[in-house]
Symmetry: C2
Subunit: 138 residues, 2 copies
């Protein structure tokens, strides 16, 4: 998660909403990404989406069944839908997203085999987001 | 929707699950795409995702508030989540997706301002999908 947090810091430096993600497969980071919705003018360019696309490119495989995605913020519905398609082994996220998090929907979104862990480096990840939005308002 | 269906036919020819999409803005098609999950080894490469990314590139704008997306199959949750972020004016889809369609989730997924129309060219779109899966089994 520290590597995902470093990606979030890169997003922060780039004036993007600071969310970072990495994909780990067999103890190796195979993809790193951060949110680039502003730079790319693309609402789909969330850290998770870019990370799973990069991981799939790396593996030349659509399914990431032996991979773990670490992301600093709870995935939104779009990202959770993508993670479901990718059939990840595990998803670990940091801060909760009380407005847009996928867990707000009362249905199972992720793949039934995907394990979920939350709250890892949640405070740092949330503090970074709060700082970003504080800067934006000033 | 006929243009979206043409895109689905291109997917069919490419041995991809035949779903096509176009984005229309001010009476002009600004993006056309079809599902490319196999070719790109990428579960996020659904027709809708590629179409809204292409439309946003065309407009140099993240939000597609004056645009209509036509897609031959009901969007999945990932795509519906993306369409929500893109704040489309209207989404028109063809066939219902009884297994993966976003309307299976009992929550409002799309943006509150997005109008939805369904069932346009549903029969042709569904027949094409059925033919694809029949070929796959044989």
């Amino acid at each position: 998660m520290q590597e995902a947090y470093k990606q979030a810091l890169l997003a922060y430096q780039d004036k993007e909403i600071p969310v970072g993600a990495v994909v780990v497969c067999r103890n190796k980071i195979i993809a790193r990404a951060y949110n680039q919705t502003e730079k790319l003018h693309d609402v789909t360019a969330h850290a998770e989406m870019l990370a799973i696309t990069a991981a799939a490119n790396h593996l030349h495989a659509k399914y990431l069944t032996q991979c773990t995605l670490y992301v600093t913020l709870e995935p939104c519905l779009m990202c959770a839908g993508a993670l479901a398609w990718a059939q990840l082994d595990r998803v670990v996220f940091g801060a909760k997203d009380a407005k847009r998090g996928f867990s707000l929907v009362p249905s199972k979104i992720l793949h039934p085999k995907t394990k979920i862990t939350s709250g890892i480096m949640a405070q740092e990840s949330e503090a970074l987001l709060q700082q970003f939005f504080r800067n934006l308002r000033n």
